[in-house]
């Protein structure tokens, strides 16, 4: 119940990795994926390609989890 506003608060305060975990706890994997997509786009535009690779890997594992639990 409290996880969703907490996740919003975390993302407003630039704590994106924690926000992503909180969205997952709040049962909102769509918002969690959105956060990673946003982080990936930023990493690419800032030429942090290693981070981009890491975020894409996270995206791939998250999308695999969505397949296992279709809701």
């Amino acid at each position: 119940m409290i996880n969703l506003p907490y996740a919003d608060w975390l993302s407003v305060n630039d704590r994106f990795d924690e926000a992503q975990q909180a969205y997952k706890k709040a049962n909102r994997p769509d918002l969690s994926l959105k956060i990673i997509e946003f982080l990936t786009a930023n990493a690419i535009s800032e030429k942090r390609f290693k981070d981009a690779a890491q975020y894409y890997f996270a995206l791939s594992t998250e999308s695999l989890k969505l397949v296992k639990n279709p809701q």
Partner: protein, 202 residues
């Protein structure tokens, strides 16, 4: 599921590109010696070949294709992989190269015409499944041209690992599969029977 595969491929592509990007930016704007090591240069050459093989028709955001071909061409020239280097320079001709590099690219492209149109032996990747010697670049994808087995790369130096994926028959139980894997292959002297289980140290 398709998303998963595409994201995984993009993750691999960006991992390889980060290496190429750092190399190009460091060597063209500063004079550091971090990339003078031949092992690191070979890793970058492998990474650029991996990118050429895998990019295909993809144009991922932020990836400068000129950097990829430039790294492949100049390092290919250095490692005497003249065929690969020549293909890289020919691709560069159709792309917009930064002005500072234009003269060097033109001169190197002329120089490479005097070299034989083949790659140095020993650089080529041998498929571990069918022992077929593959060309250094295969723009259709990162797989063996003969049997289609994918090359399994190590993401530190981007060379192919001697691994072959196989699936045991469904009627063999997993415990038996493990036992069979621990056995020595049947030797030529024995009559084709299974070898003795090997003693394994942990």
């Amino acid at each position: 599921m398709d998303n998963h595969k595409e994201f995984l491929k993009l993750a691999e592509i960006y991992q390889a590109y980060s290496l190429v990007n750092t190399y190009i930016e460091e060597t063209s704007y500063t004079k550091t010696s971090a990339f003078s090591d031949e092992v690191i240069q070979e890793a970058i050459f492998n990474a650029s070949r991996f990118l050429v093989n895998n990019l295909g028709s993809r144009v991922p955001n932020g990836i400068n294709i000129v950097y990829v071909f430039y790294a492949m061409a100049t390092l290919g020239y250095k490692f005497e992989a003249f065929k690969t280097a020549r293909e890289g320079f020919e691709k560069l001709l159709s792309l917009k190269v930064p002005k500072a590099w234009q003269e060097r690219v033109d001169i190197d492209h002329l120089k490479i015409r005097a070299k034989p149109y083949n790659d140095k032996e020993g650089l080529a990747w041998t498929c571990n499944r069918c022992i077929c010697v593959n060309p250094l670049i295969n723009p259709k994808g990162d797989f063996c041209v003969q049997c289609g087995a994918p090359g399994i790369r190590n993401f530190g130096s981007f060379d192919c690992l001697p691994l072959v994926e196989f699936v045991p028959e469904s009627n063999v139980p997993p415990v038996r599969v493990k036992e069979l894997l621990k056995m020595d292959p049947p030797s030529a002297e024995s009559d084709g029977g299974a070898g003795q289980p090997r003693q394994r140290r942990n």
